[in-house]
Symmetry: none
Subunit: 416 residues, 2 copies
């Protein structure tokens, strides 16, 4: 038995998306429709009814974990997803290169994304990783760059705290903030963590401002990547692995570091797919091939596809509809064609709605499809929000992966 979970990020929409229909309803999705006709639909509240999900909390919940008790922040998933070795006690951040100017009042953020820098990030990261703190000894940093200005930052040392604020002012022309203990958490660990971060921020500017990469950028009229903004402080959540609970081995295929990071935190193995960008240009066909291949080695595969969410945030209904059609033809089509449907279960859902008229996540539940030998076919014949509302699986909260593993007879019994 094999299982495959596909989460299409930001899949859900509203009737306002395309004049009465959601993008998903408007999209031509013959393969998903065929799976719906052969399987069953329902509605899933990614976290719970009326809870507006973030991507990180939604994924934790869909994979079977309670984000209200386990979630500590986004940074740890970014660090894991980017390949840093996170250990208990580390404090993790989502980080990015920025452009600052030194003025009398302090460092003013000119560009929060350093002109979306496209090259030289690894050399800049190498310079950052040489920084040694003097005022707060015993604390070390690891920075790793990912795409463009994006990266992740990890602190390691005795007695650190995740209860610290960020240094990102979230607006150009504003002073970079100082890290501080969060209100109500002004203990020694938080004070020490904030002091280490403030020293790191100062030294990062010193290490980057005259770096050859930045000299070239200035010569070319580009904003220098001369500062690091860090946010989303988190420590390592105590997540029992899916392997330890269900006894099966899983792999994740995802372009975005965050999603790889959540899956890694749950004990999955990452499969790198060249061309999986986490954007609208991602190579879905390559992801489908990689997923099918991975099922030779793993019991289940989790495939994350980001593009529909990007289009939703961009408030571009045509792009969202077109990307959903690409998911259907380039990802679902090959799965339908090449998997053994006598011995495979598939779940297909989204992690939240991202209606194009709003351009951000909203609270509505998303459709979920299950198909495979254990799934009793319902009366639905197409894949969409409203069809899912009359599906045979009703409405439930999170836990899409545990249900999928359950159909595959891998769920542990609670009680006897």
């Amino acid at each position: 038995m094999k299982a495959i979970l596909v989460i299409a990020d930001g899949l859900g929409g509203r009737p306002t998306d395309t004049g009465g229909r959601t993008c998903l309803e408007a999209a031509r999705t013959p393969h998903l429709d065929a799976l719906a006709a052969g399987g069953a639909l329902g509605l899933v509240d990614p976290i719970g009814p009326g809870v507006r999900p973030g991507s990180d909390t939604a994924h934790l919940s869909l994979l079977g974990y309670d984000p209200f008790t386990l979630y500590t922040g986004r940074g740890v998933f970014e660090c894991l997803g980017i390949g840093l070795d996170v250990q208990a006690g580390d404090v993790c951040f989502r980080a990015n290169f920025a452009t600052v100017e030194a003025r009398d009042a302090g460092l003013v953020v000119i560009d929060r994304r350093a002109g979306r820098i496209e090259s030289g990030q690894d050399e800049l990261a190498a310079a950052l990783n040489k920084i040694r703190l003097e005022e707060v000894p015993g604390v070390s940093f690891q920075f790793r760059a990912s795409t463009q200005h994006r990266g992740a930052l990890l602190l390691r040392g005795e007695s650190l705290s995740r209860y610290v604020t960020e240094n990102d002012p979230h607006g150009a022309g504003e002073l970079a903030l100082r890290f501080e203990p969060e209100p109500g958490h002004e203990d020694e660990a938080a004070l020490r963590t904030a002091a280490a971060l403030n020293e790191f921020a100062e030294r990062s500017h010193a290490a980057l401002r005259d770096h050859p990469v930045n000299r070239r950028r200035v010569e070319n009229g580009e904003p220098p990547a001369n500062f690091v903004l860090a946010r989303g402080a988190a420590d390592c959540p105590n997540i029992p692995s899916i392997k330890s609970v269900y006894g099966v081995r899983g792999a994740v295929i995802a372009g975005g570091a965050l999603y790889r990071g959540v899956a890694l935190a749950c004990g999955m193995t990452t499969i790198d797919v060249p061309g999986a960008t986490g954007g609208l240009d991602t190579d879905l066909d390559a992801k489908a091939r990689a997923a099918i291949d991975a099922l030779d080695e793993f019991d289940y595969v989790f495939v994350h596809v980001k593009g529909a969410d990007n289009a939703g945030h961009d408030q571009d209904a045509a792009a969202k509809t077109a990307f959903i059609e690409r998911i259907d033809s380039e990802l679902v089509g090959p799965l339908v064609e090449r998997l053994d449907w006598n011995a495979t279960h598939l779940a297909f859902t989204g992690d939240h709605t991202t209606p194009v008229d709003y351009g951000d996540h909203t609270v509505e539940p998303v459709p979920v499809l299950y198909v495979g030998p254990s799934v009793a076919r319902d009366e639905t014949t197409s894949y969409g929000e409203r069809e899912a509302g009359r599906g045979g699986l009703g409405r439930f909260s999170g836990r899409v992966l545990p249900i999928l593993l359950g159909y595959s007879n891998w769920a542990p019994k609670f009680g006897s």
Copy 2:
């Protein structure tokens, strides 16, 4: 964007109500049916599946709070709803005037409602509010009368406990009980609170028995309101306001003190509507006008309507059906006609079922309707229990207000 939540108390019923149909199904509700046709239905378990709701716990849950962790008792909502200024540490009661007779064994309750006294209650309350305790110094009382025999009682002082029993024997001809610490809570605070309440009860009889209001009642052959029964001990629950969570300002329109009290505890503003009685005779048209006016000033309005529950408790199917028809024509009709449906979301539900053949709350879920620009229309065309069972929103628990605020794009994101 504006939002309006209507909760029709005790709305739900059973097929035994009217020979195969519930009162709601039997009632002629053209406006609700039209809203159902333009919106979507579902079933909501006010607290959770198989949980038989009280009115207070159901409202907390529908407004988005977990009653299992937050609910401390009914008294605090009665005190808030009646206009008392509840502070942290206060212990609050639902209270009422009663008629007692002094006998050798103690005070015997002759009429638990003092003949449903209709006048003079404020003068009696003034007499109660002059009571000063001598045996338990440092504890003060506030009593406020509402309709008929009903009122609320608040204790204030150092180190009080809500873990005390009541003095209401719940039967005529029985001795008024003494307040005691609840079993398992026999600490100093509970002993002191019970002692203060017992002294207050004694002094209340002394203050009331020869009061001019009661002399007149006895002359007129009416039972004197010469004692106070108190129950539902509660302290101030730690409820974050809806404003602090969602950033929007709301108002409540409700005849019953309990419902105003729950809404006040959640941070809403009370709007007084002359003629809103909390009974079958309430002025629904005035409530509709007040709600529409309130939406000029507030982001959302919560309208509570009590009558259907009263008729359910009275086991009067005709009265329940007729009142539901009045809700449709006098409350929903004006809302349909006068609100801007391009920029308004409405939720319409009940807080529990009150079947007329049983005459009290039961566990069944109740229908919930959402309509507005963000809501995807489903296939339902009328408003009722069974139609809601085939609605596009499925079945979920509580949280009707958070979902409504989410459709209006006011929900905070959990995670990132």
